[in-house]
Each structure stands twice: as structure tokens, then as C-alpha cells.
């Protein structure tokens, strides 16, 4: 395939470079964006077409033990959505938990080129990488679950922050992980006994540390290690009425650690922890309160976890929440606790328009997106597949860009919910530039992927060209045009190669897997090794030497080096 491509006359949205709808040419050589190319370069005439950097999904469950168990749990999910083998592509299945190849193809078709799996149990991360390696086209990475880890809880209890930092650095290296993920801090350990915790200051039995201390400790560790992302937090009390307060308390728990430069805590799928009210009957949207907090405090970023009406499969590391959802729905349930580390649960779920709670949830996600003023701190996700499959993104974009689209859905949801939501009164409509921000530029920035999420010189040539001419269509009045355009690119370019053209996948290339190595001082590392080894056998059922993933294990590893302060 061509090494050089020129894209001519595109209408470019590149928020990181402050380009909003300018008509520009972009040149590509050897997978990078360059100043100019030779005359023989392949030319793509993009006049009247919208061009953006390739999409970056910061939070989508696409690989690993719970995803695969979700697939295994639900043959009925796959039967209704199959992909037939073609000359260039593998067969596969959807719907809410697509097979690995199908996942890669479907993201590429939508113009997404980088996706992060946000919850991998460290002990099972080899599995996660095996699936990521099997996912074509896109670049990827994964976040190890560290919020219920025995070593970490003990280091924090004992005030041994340096060791804790060194341990986290070792974990990221051992699992080839990218960032610190915290899910229901301490709560999953308690769920190991089938019990629950509710409050940020409840001590975790047997460990004598609180969720607040875990979040704060890891937030400090994150800074000490200078990691490329920030702590990525799924708060306590997910799915319970009134939990918007836990969300705000969690954000506020690290406020004093902020240094003003950039956010230091990311609260994920905030829709699920944006419930106000005290019961299912008076459940309401806590989005206005959360948005107020986010607007007033720049140490926080959030992503949506937008709900899509229809059938999906919920799966989180939040074992207790999944059990609760099983009891609530009566649907089949999987629980998978992981020794000394974490857990997870899976429950199929159907979000119904006419269901009061589901309709409120749908409203919370959109309210958040519309009420948070700074698009650099709110990212579009459905927490795939928890709120709905990632293939629903075009719908979400249409709702954000068009009040008309929202009104149409509002008129069809549960009536009481309609009355109680603020959503009908919100007029804001996202611009294409803001959409480019929340779907690529901002997440790339939050992940410190320097060559992603923009189209400046030297950037990776990951590009999406959509069949959309904002000068010709009145977008806010044409939501179906928005949906159609974002469903399938005219061209998706990955590393300078056309990987998808009008929904036709060109073949099976495989992207990089990003992971982080933060080097702590040699002395600290040596002390840590001694300490881990002295207890490792007591905590785990595998040998210390068999725990780290070997260097040759990943198909295309891409290491991000950082230098720790300790």
C-alpha cells in the first residue's frame, strides 16, 4: 500500500491544534503526518467532508476474563448479530460483546483507532493481552485494577507510600498495564466475604484502611510515578440511589492534592454514580450537582457511561454491584473474584425507555455531558457494554449535537422521568469541534498519548474522514445525518494506511499495545522485591517468578517510559 497519502480540501476538526472546520490538506508519510509529500502520493479528495483525528476511547470493556465470560454467558447475544467471513476479514459475532476481530473492525469502521480496556485483574492480565493481541487494527492498552489489592492496602495502612509507589510501578511493568484503575475501593475485598461497604470512611475489615485512604494514596502514587494517565476511578456505591454524593465526596477527597496543572482524578461512567434521591421511587438525576462540582474544580475529569435503550451485557469489576443488579433484574449472573486483588461480575440487562429508573439514567448521562462546560474534561463513553454497545456512539453524538434528537427521545421515555429530569430544559448543542474534543482530543490528552488525538506535524496518521459537510447541512435539525455520518467513515486511516473505506475493512493489521514503565530508584526497587517475595506465596497461588508477563508475550508492545520521583 502507498506510503504517502495526501488528503485534499478536508474540513478539519483538530481541537488540540485549535482548528475548527478549516479547509486544509493533510499529508502522510510512513504513518506520520508530515509537511508535504511527493507528487506520486495517493490523493484523497475530501472536499466537503469532515476530517478528525482517529477516535480515542478511554473506557471500553473489549478484552479479558470478564468480557470473555460475558461472551460465553450469552450465546443469545451473538446469534442475532453475525459477521460473515470475507476475503479480507474474519467472521465473528456481536452484539453487545463482539468477538475480538469484530470489535476491531467495528471500531475502525466508526473512525476509532485507539481503545483502552479499563479493568483488568492483574493476575489475569495475560488473558487481557491475548485478546487485545487478537483485536485487529486499533491501538490499545489496559488499566490494571489496583483499588482492592492486598499489598497496596497494606502499604497504605502502614503509611509506606514509597513502597506502595514502587509496588504499583512493578505491577504496571509486570502486567504491561497503562494506568491505575480503582473500582469500588475496598468494597470488592469486602465482597470477597459477600458483604458490602457504603461509605468512604468505612474501614475495610482485616485491612484497616478506608476507601478514602486508598483513593488518596493511589492519587499520590500516581503523581510520584509521573504516570501518563491519572487515577481512573469507579467510585463506591455504584448503582445506589443517592450515590452522586459519593461521587462528589470522592472527587473532593483528593482536592488538596491538585497542583492546578491538569486533572488528578478521573471519575468514570459517572452516569452510574450520578443518582440522587433515596430510593428507586424518588430516584433523580444528580448530574447538575456533579456538573457544578466539575465546573468549579479543574482537578477532575469524567466520562459519561451513557445509557442506550436496548439489550446489553453489564460487566464491571464491582462484584457487589453486579450481584445487586442480578437481584434487581432476576437475570443470570456471573461472579469472578480474583485472589488478593479484585473481582468482577456480569449480568445481562435491558434498558427500557418506559422504565422510570432506566429513563432517568439515560437523562443523567446526557445532562452531565451538556452541563459540564469544559469539553476537555468530559469524555464520551457508554462504558461499553455497560450502558450500551460502543456501536451506539453515533446515537450519543446525535443527542449531544441536536436538541431535536433529544426531544424526540424524551417524548418517548417514561413520563414521570420526563417530568423529573432537567434535560428537556437544556438547550446546549455540541459543535463538531466539541464532539472532536470529547471523542478524541481530550481522551488522548488525558492519556498523554502525545501523537494521538490531533493532526499536527509528527502526529500518528490515525484519521477519520466522515461523509459530512457542516456547511451544507443544518446539523442540529438533521440528527439522522449525524448518525449516519458517524456510523461509518468514508475513510479510516491508521498509521498512514487506509484500514476502512466506506465500511469495507481492508485487511488484518494489528496496532500497538501501550503500557507504562515508571522507573523508581534502584534501592527502593530492591527493597520492594524483597518485601514482595517474602509475602507473595502467602497471597497468591502462583509463583512470583511466573507472575510477570514476559517481554515477548505481546504482539506489538509500545512502552511509555516515565521517571518516578522516588
Amino acid at each position: 500500500m502507498e506510503k504517502e497519502i495526501s488528503i485534499i480540501n478536508a474540513i478539519v476538526f483538530d481541537p488540540l491544534n485549535n482548528i475548527e472546520g478549516e479547509k486544509l490538506d493533510v499529508h502522510i508519510r510512513n504513518g506520520k503526518i508530515v509537511e508535504s509529500v511527493g507528487r506520486k502520493a495517493r490523493k484523497i479528495n475530501a472536499s466537503g467532508k469532515t476530517m478528525m483525528p482517529g477516535g480515542v476511547d478511554i473506557h471500553s470493556h473489549i478484552a479479558g476474563s470478564k468480557v470473555n465470560t460475558g461472551r460465553l454467558l450469552r450465546p443469545e447475544d451473538h446469534r442475532k448479530d453475525v459477521e460473515i467471513k470475507t476475503k479480507h476479514t474474519h467472521s465473528g459475532v456481536g452484539y453487545s460483546i463482539p468477538s475480538t476481530r469484530t470489535t476491531g473492525y467495528r471500531y475502525a469502521k466508526m473512525g476509532y483507532t485507539t481503545v483502552f480496556e479499563p479493568a483488568t485483574p492483574p493476575l489475569k492480565t495475560r488473558h487481557t493481552h491475548e485478546e487485545l493481541d487478537s483485536t485487529p487494527i486499533i491501538d490499545k492498552g489496559c488499566f490494571p485494577l489496583l483499588g482492592n489489592n492486598w499489598f497496596i492496602m497494606e502499604y497504605l495502612r502502614d503509611g509506606r507510600l514509597d513502597e506502595c509507589a514502587a509496588f504499583v510501578a512493578w505491577m504496571l511493568k509486570a502486567t504491561k498495564g497503562y494506568a491505575i484503575k480503582i473500582v469500588d475501593p475496598g468494597g470488592v475485598e469486602v465482597w470477597g466475604w459477600g458483604k458490602f461497604i457504603k461509605r468512604l470512611d468505612d474501614p475495610i475489615p482485616n485491612f484497616d484502611v478506608t476507601p478514602r485512604e486508598i483513593v488518596r494514596g493511589l492519587c499520590k502514587v500516581n503523581k510520584m510515578l509521573n504516570l501518563p494517565h491519572i487515577i481512573h476511578v469507579h467510585t463506591n456505591n455504584l448503582g445506589s440511589p443517592g450515590n452522586y454524593q459519593t461521587t462528589i465526596e470522592t472527587m473532593d477527597a483528593v482536592r488538596d492534592l491538585a497542583d492546578g496543572k491538569r486533572p488528578i482524578i478521573h471519575i468514570t461512567h459517572v452516569q452510574f454514580t450520578g443518582f440522587s434521591g433515596s430510593s428507586w421511587v424518588n430516584l433523580g438525576s444528580g448530574a447538575p450537582e456533579i456538573a457544578d462540582y466539575v465546573n468549579d474544580h479543574n482537578h477532575v475529569s469524567v466520562d459519561l457511561g451513557q445509557v442506550i435503550f436496548g439489550d446489553t451485557t453489564t460487566m464491571t469489576a464491582d462484584g457487589p454491584f453486579q450481584y445487586f443488579l442480578h437481584q434487581l433484574s432476576g437475570n443470570k449472573w456471573v461472579n469472578l473474584d480474583v485472589e488478593a486483588e479484585t473481582g468482577s461480575g456480569i449480568v445481562p440487562f435491558q434498558y427500557k425507555r418506559t422504565n422510570y429508573v432506566n429513563a432517568i439514567q439515560w437523562g443523567i448521562g446526557l445532562e452531565l455531558a451538556l452541563l459540564v462546560k469544559d469539553p476537555w474534561r468530559v469524555f464520551m463513553t457508554t462504558d461499553h457494554p455497560n450502558g450500551g454497545p460502543f456501536t451506539s456512539y453515533p446515537k450519543v453524538i446525535a443527542w449531544l449535537m441536536s436538541k431535536k434528537a433529544r426531544e424526540k427521545m424524551i417524548s418517548r421515555i417514561n413520563r414521570t422521568a420526563r417530568r423529573r429530569l432537567d434535560l428537556p430544559n437544556i438547550d446546549r448543542e455540541y459543535t463538531l469541534g466539541e464532539i472532536a474534543t470529547i471523542t478524541r482530543a481530550a481522551p488522548a490528552k488525558s492519556l498523554t498519548l502525545m501523537n494521538k488525538g490531533h493532526l499536527g506535524l509528527g502526529a500518528d496518521a490515525d484519521i477519520a474522514i466522515y461523509d459530512l459537510d457542516p456547511s451544507k447541512v443544518d446539523l442540529e435539525n438533521k440528527p439522522s445525518t449525524i448518525r449516519k455520518a458517524f456510523k461509518e467513515t468514508l475513510y479510516t486511516i491508521k498509521n498512514g494506511k487506509i484500514v476502512s473505506k466506506q465500511g469495507q475493512i481492508a485487511g488484518n493489521s494489528y496496532g500497538n499495545t501501550f503500557y507504562t514503565e515508571s522507573q523508581v530508584s534502584k534501592n527502593l526497587e530492591a527493597d520492594l522485591m524483597k518485601d514482595i517475595q517474602s509475602r507473595f506465596k502467602d497471597y497468591y497461588t502462583i509463583e512470583f517468578e511466573n507472575y510477570p508477563i514476559s517481554d515477548g508475550f505481546l504482539r506489538n508492545p509500545a512502552k511509555i517510559n516515565c521517571k518516578a520521583d522516588v
Binding site: S65, V67, N68, T69, R71, L72, L73, P75, D77, H78, V82, E83, I84, K85, K87, H90, S91, G92, V93, I97, S99, T100, R101, L123, K124, R126, H127, E130, E131, S134, G192, W193, G194, N206, Y323, H326, Q327, K332, W333, V334, N335, L336, D337, V338, E339, A340, G343, I346, V347, D538, Y539, Y540, T541, I542, E543, E545, N546, I549, S550, F553
Partner: protein, 433 residues
């Protein structure tokens, strides 16, 4: 020649994936194994017995030596020509090999099945209906104060299971055997049953009835009969009390449950019982997977196709209907017109009628050993032992993935499953595209 001692070696026999073996190598041979059970040392010290070492192909009625290249070429042409080739085995090889196997089945429009269909297939069917409350083995080691083995005899089939992961192990919150109760449910007093605090002997093929009664007792429902499956109601109620009152219970089950009458209904009943127990205490359930990587075969197949076994690619997309698309059913109906067997011995293990059909179609086998299946094959492709003669990743019964090592060289000239299968896939593609 000096001896080399390798520690933390991962055993590739049963689903326990013990990773604490110490192996001594002398002159590229394993001469000593420490920490292993009898099954494991049997393999570690016996892997050189009865090997296939030379690719063979049938000429007329006799097998004649050939080359890998030739054998792979003929194999490729044979499966391309078939309208529905069967690809079966996969539980004694690496994830990497399994993944290539799935692509091969997809490319040639065949059926891909692994040995799950004849061991824990019903377990998977049960999980489709109910889900499962489970965990990694370490959770049980740390927390379980009550362990049940139902239709499973770990003393024989998973010899280190109890000492590494359950009643005899030392965990964070349970220090010794006396901190835990062991309950064994079986149709006969097995060697495992002899170690139990409570042994429940039931009549063969009545697992379902007993499971349902137990669930009723857990719920506090009145049971009409005086005995169920030969077990008195008093005993059942006593058992239910024990389950409810433990802090963390674990139910392991084996083929005694999956294979006895009712099959997937038994498993559904077991899964439901455990799910229900979670409203009263913490309870988990886990199948005792036999072959060391049968769980890997399920996992790899699932992420590639959505389904764990019995996948039908004949229509160009993955389709799944165990009972129809599973190996024994296909063969018993006389449907497949060629078969590639990888690391498995279906001639020894399949019921006669199914095995008989296998021997009436072109049969190609990739295996390190001479087996009844290789003896009946038209083409034999010798291969290296995963975890001894080549690397490869595998799944423990609880889904923990380990990277096995290469300890010694394979017999001279012998290739690995990955090498053979990738060459075969390449050949198939070059012939068809």
C-alpha cells in the same frame, strides 16, 4: 555433562496448572521432578515414550514415512476438498495453537470442537442458562471454610488440588485442615470421600434429584419424601444447614455430575443452588477441568467466535448448537468427511459409533504420541510437547493464564503444533486464494 535444575516449572497435565515443579535436566533429558504428583511425574519422566517422530502417510493400507511438507500439502488438499472437515482436540496444546486452529476451521468452512464437548460441555450449557458464582483458586485457599467435591475425585484426577488450593492449603484467613469442613458427594466411597468430614453417598444418576432437594432445604421448603437419591431428608437438611452457616463455601464438581443422567440439568441445578446460597452467605462453584488447557480451548474459541466449543463455520460465520454441531453428534450422524485431530485421542475416548465414523473418513492427527487415534490415521504429524519441548500459554481451571516453558528440545526434526498448524493454514490459503 552438568545437570541443570529449573524451578517454578508449570505442569501440563491437569487443570490445576501447578507451577511449583522443580525439574532436573541432564543431557537434554528430564531426569528428576520434584513437587509433582504421580500423574505429573508420569508425564515429565515418560514424555519420551512411544513418540511419533516421523511424519507418516498411508499408502494403500500401510503407513509410510514422509516429510512434513508433503504431509501438510496432502492434508491441506484433503480438508479443502471436504465439504465439512472436523477439527477436534485442542485441550492438550497451547492457546497459540488453538487460535490458529480456529482460523483454519474458519478458512475451510468446517467444524471446530474441543474435548469440552465430552467432558464439561454440560457445564457450559448450564452456565448459559444460570451464570456462575466463581473465583480464582486463591480465594478459596484464603477464605473457604467449607469445601464440597461433588462427583469429583481429586485424589485421583487432580492430586494436588486439595493441598494447593482447598482443604489442606494454608490461606490468609484459614490456616489449616481443621479450619475447614470437607464434604464429598459421590456414588461411591472414593479415596477423596475417605478424607471427608461428611460423605454423602447417592444412587447413580440421581444427582439432579439430590441437588434440587438440597436447594429446597436451603430455601427452607418442606420436602415430602423420606429419602432422595438414597439419602435421608435429615441428612439433606443437615447438609443445607452447613452450607448456609459457613462463611465462604466452595462447590467443586466433576464428570460425575456432568456425565450422569440429566447432564446440563444437573449443572443448572448446581449453579442455581450456589447462586441462591449467595443470598445467605458467600458461595462459589467451579468445574474440575481435566486436561491442562481445555479451559484455554474454551477461552480462545470464545473470543474468536463468541462460542466456547462445537462451532460450525460451514455457513461462513460462527454458529453454535451443541448436540448438533459437537463432534460426537456429527460423527454419529456420519456427517464430517475428513478430520484433523490435534493433541487428542478420540478413538480411545469416543463411543464406538462415533469413533467408527472417524476411521471411515480421511483422518489426520497431530500428536506427540502414538495412540489408537494415530494408529487409525491416514496422516500422522508428530509434534512437540507443550510445556516440556516448547513454550505456550495455558489456562488454569479458574482462568489464570500461565506461560509454560521449553525445558528440553523435542525429538530431532519434530515440529511444534504452532509450526505445523501455521504451515497448514498458509498452505490452505495459498491453494484457495
Amino acid at each position: 555433562m552438568s545437570q541443570e535444575v529449573i524451578s517454578n516449572v508449570i505442569c501440563t497435565v491437569c487443570g490445576c496448572s501447578c507451577d511449583h515443579l522443580q525439574v532436573t535436566i541432564d543431557n537434554d533429558k528430564i531426569v528428576k521432578v520434584k513437587n509433582a504428583c504421580a500423574m505429573s511425574s508420569g508425564k515429565m519422566l515418560g514424555y519420551r515414550n512411544e513418540r511419533t517422530t516421523q511424519p507418516m502417510m498411508k499408502k494403500g493400507t500401510t503407513l509410510k514415512p514422509t516429510t512434513y511438507e508433503r504431509a501438510i500439502d496432502v492434508t491441506a488438499k484433503t480438508i479443502i476438498k471436504s465439504s465439512s472437515p472436523l477439527f477436534y482436540g485442542w485441550s492438550l496444546t497451547s492457546n497459540e495453537a488453538i487460535a490458529i486452529g480456529v482460523d483454519l476451521a474458519e478458512e475451510t468452512g468446517g467444524f471446530f470442537d474441543n474435548t469440552t464437548s465430552t467432558c464439561h460441555g454440560p457445564t457450559i450449557l448450564g452456565v448459559h442458562e444460570i451464570g456462575e458464582s466463581s473465583c480464582t483458586l486463591g480465594e478459596i485457599r484464603h477464605r473457604a471454610d467449607l469445601v464440597i467435591y461433588w462427583g469429583s475425585n481429586p485424589v485421583h484426577a487432580h492430586p494436588l488440588h486439595m493441598s494447593r488450593y482447598t482443604v489442606m492449603s494454608k490461606g490468609r484467613f484459614r490456616k489449616s485442615r481443621s479450619d475447614r469442613k470437607l464434604i464429598v458427594v459421590d456414588v461411591r466411597k472414593t479415596d477423596t470421600a475417605k478424607l471427608a468430614d461428611v460423605f454423602i453417598q447417592l444412587e447413580p444418576n440421581n444427582d439432579y434429584e439430590l441437588m434440587v432437594a438440597l436447594r429446597a432445604a436451603v430455601r427452607g421448603d418442606e420436602i415430602e419424601q423420606e429419602t432422595v437419591a438414597g439419602v435421608s431428608i435429615d441428612k439433606i437438611e443437615e447438609l443445607a444447614e452447613m452450607l448456609i452457616n459457613c462463611e465462604f463455601g466452595a462447590l467443586f464438581f466433576g464428570l460425575g455430575l456432568t456425565m450422569s443422567a440429566g447432564k446440563s440439568k444437573n449443572i443448572e441445578a448446581a449453579l442455581s443452588l450456589v447462586t441462591e446460597l449467595n443470598s445467605k452467605t458467600k458461595f462459589v462453584i467451579m468445574p474440575m477441568r481435566g486436561h491442562f488447557n481445555v479451559n484455554g480451548a474454551n477461552n480462545v474459541t470464545t473470543w474468536l467466535t463468541g462460542y466456547p466449543y462445537a462451532v460450525d463455520f460451514t455457513q461462513g460465520f460462527p454458529r453454535y448448537n451443541p448436540g448438533e454441531t459437537s463432534a460426537v453428534d456429527l460423527l454419529a450422524r456420519g456427517e464430517c468427511d475428513s478430520a484433523l485431530i490435534v493433541a487428542s485421542d478420540p478413538i480411545s475416548n469416543f463411543p464406538y459409533q462415533a469413533a467408527k465414523h472417524l476411521t471411515s473418513i480421511p483422518l489426520i492427527t497431530i500428536d506427540p504420541h502414538i495412540t489408537p487415534t494415530t494408529m487409525c490415521s491416514n496422516i500422522i504429524l508428530p509434534s512437540a510437547h507443550v510445556g516440556i519441548e516448547t513454550t505456550g500459554s495455558t489456562y488454569r481451571m479458574d482462568g489464570v493464564v500461565l506461560e509454560t516453558r521449553k525445558l528440553v528440545d523435542p525429538p530431532k526434526g519434530v515440529k511444534t503444533d504452532v509450526e505445523i498448524l501455521s504451515a497448514l493454514l498458509k498452505r490452505v490459503k495459498s491453494l484457495t486464494r
